[in-house]
């Protein structure tokens, strides 16, 4: 039995096959509408995250399955003071697969150690969010036909942004990737990511302070939130925040086939005037997340063979 706890739990080949399945589902969803008849997804959200939970629930419902679960630990007497290990043992009897979100880092990994059903990490604190990473890759692939050869600018909070770290770790497994890390000094990519992940990969990379510097070169612009609480003082925040807001004006220098991604929710880092631009694909990205999760549920339930290694087609 396989789980998805870390985006790198799947090899690049497995990931590619999974994304390919996601595309097949997107193209003809009716073919998959009853593939999970009689199956139940448990959504164990110890911390509320409406978007992610709805995406998982939509995925399971579109497959003909059903969902049960809770949306925050406070409202669930079943989980009060109960260990993660006990919760998953119990849910193993109620559901066929589980998506777990938890405020503690590593909680879904603990669950996977005790579970009798596949566990999907739906976000564990500031640590990992592998279905977001798969969704990002899916969007890049949909837009370009492949991930290889992409020039990507990651913009905003590159220090604390877990989606950015996971995406970098996944992207280095592809060929000829060029990274531009666009952030204020205070929110640079952590040095361990550069030293342990980016440098050994041999891919080209550069740190820049302004998105305008690299805009014409980008195939993908991955925007993230710059949060006020990440700064030591209000002055720094006010001084810096505008530099990391995407506007129509800044887009003027960009390629025609640029894709703008954002893990959502956004606050103000993408001006609403950009939403109408065909290059703004963040809502399409969120929609793609449902197909990715459908593919993932089918794969982990063993209903779609040939995705994971060692299963045979």
């Amino acid at each position: 039995m396989r789980h998805l706890i870390d985006p790198l739990d799947f090899t690049r080949q497995e990931t590619d096959r999974l994304l390919g399945l996601g595309e097949k589902i997107l193209e003809s969803p009716q073919k998959y509408a009853h593939r999970c008849d009689g199956k139940i997804l448990g959504t164990l959200f110890f911390e509320p995250s409406t978007r992610t939970r709805l995406s998982f629930e939509s995925a399971m419902l579109r497959l003909g399955g059903q969902v049960l679960g809770f949306s925050d630990a406070g409202s669930s007497s079943a989980t009060k003071g109960e260990s993660v290990a006990d919760t998953i043992r119990m849910v193993s009897g109620y559901a066929d697969i589980a998506a777990m979100r938890h405020f503690k880092e590593g909680a879904p990994f603990v669950a996977s150690q005790y579970s009798r059903i596949p566990v999907i990490n739906a976000g564990d604190g500031g640590h990992q969010h592998p279905t977001q990473t798969l969704t990002d890759l899916f969007t890049i692939r949909r837009r370009r036909g492949k991930v290889d050869g992409v020039t990507i600018g990651l913009c905003g909070d590159l220090k604390f942004g877990r989606t950015v770290h996971s995406l970098i770790k996944s992207l280095v497994r592809y060929e000829n990737v060029r990274f531009y890390f666009i952030s204020p000094e205070e929110l640079r990519v952590p040095s361990y990511i550069l030293k342990e992940v980016v440098m050994p990969s041999g891919h080209q990379w550069e740190e820049v302070r302004a998105m305008e510097d690299v805009m014409p070169e980008l195939d993908i612009l991955y925007m993230t939130r710059v949060q006020r609480e990440r700064f030591f003082n209000e002055e720094d925040y006010v001084r810096l925040k505008d530099s990391y807001i995407l506007t129509k004006d800044k887009l003027r220098a960009a390629k025609k086939d640029l894709s703008i991604l954002h893990p959502l929710p956004r606050v103000n880092e993408i001006a609403p005037e950009v939403d109408g631009d065909p290059r703004a694909v963040y809502f399409e990205q969120a929609r793609g997340g449902v197909f990715v999760r459908m593919a993932l549920i089918l794969t982990l339930l063993g209903l779609e063979k040939g995705i994971l290694s060692g299963e045979g087609a």
Binding site: S83, K104, A107, V110, H127
Partner: protein, 139 residues
């Protein structure tokens, strides 16, 4: 002055960084042995000035992996029939189980009763990461 000649069969852990002898004793769980164990603190060392030494009588098969993590200066001498049979430098264990605790307050190990597991992420720099939250262990 004690020396290894006084052991017929056993292990001498020499060149332990001064002050770490008791930690090594604890982590190797030597209190569980009923044979003779000697800890020598602050012995004179030509190399380091001071050192700790642990001598264990009658046992030659202790799991010494953890030693590499605590003190990679240490040397391990296996004594058989009063002679030095083997001399080894401890190597860094790939995995540490219940040796150190994760200090990340957001880590699940801070609330859930599970093994504390760390894995070696950088052999050269002796760096370990928590298996759960991936935070690096800082001594």
């Amino acid at each position: 002055m004690l020396n290894i000649d006084s052991i017929e069969n056993g292990i001498v852990i020499d060149h332990i960084t001064a002050g770490r002898g008791m930690r090594v004793y604890d982590l190797l769980e030597l209190q569980a042995l009923d044979t003779c164990v000697a800890i020598i603190k602050n012995a004179r060392s030509e190399k380091y000035g001071k050192k700790d030494i642990i001598k264990i009588e009658g046992v030659t098969d202790i799991d010494l992996d953890v030693l590499g993590f605590i003190d990679d200066h240490a040397t391990v001498c296996i004594i058989r029939d009063g002679k030095l049979a083997e001399k080894k430098r401890p190597h860094l264990p790939k995995k540490l189980v219940n040796i150190v605790k994760c200090k990340n307050p957001r880590c699940i190990t801070s609330v859930e009763n599970v093994d504390q597991v760390f894995y070696l992420c950088d052999e050269k720099a002796h760096r370990y990461r928590c298996r759960y939250c991936e935070q690096e262990y800082k001594k």
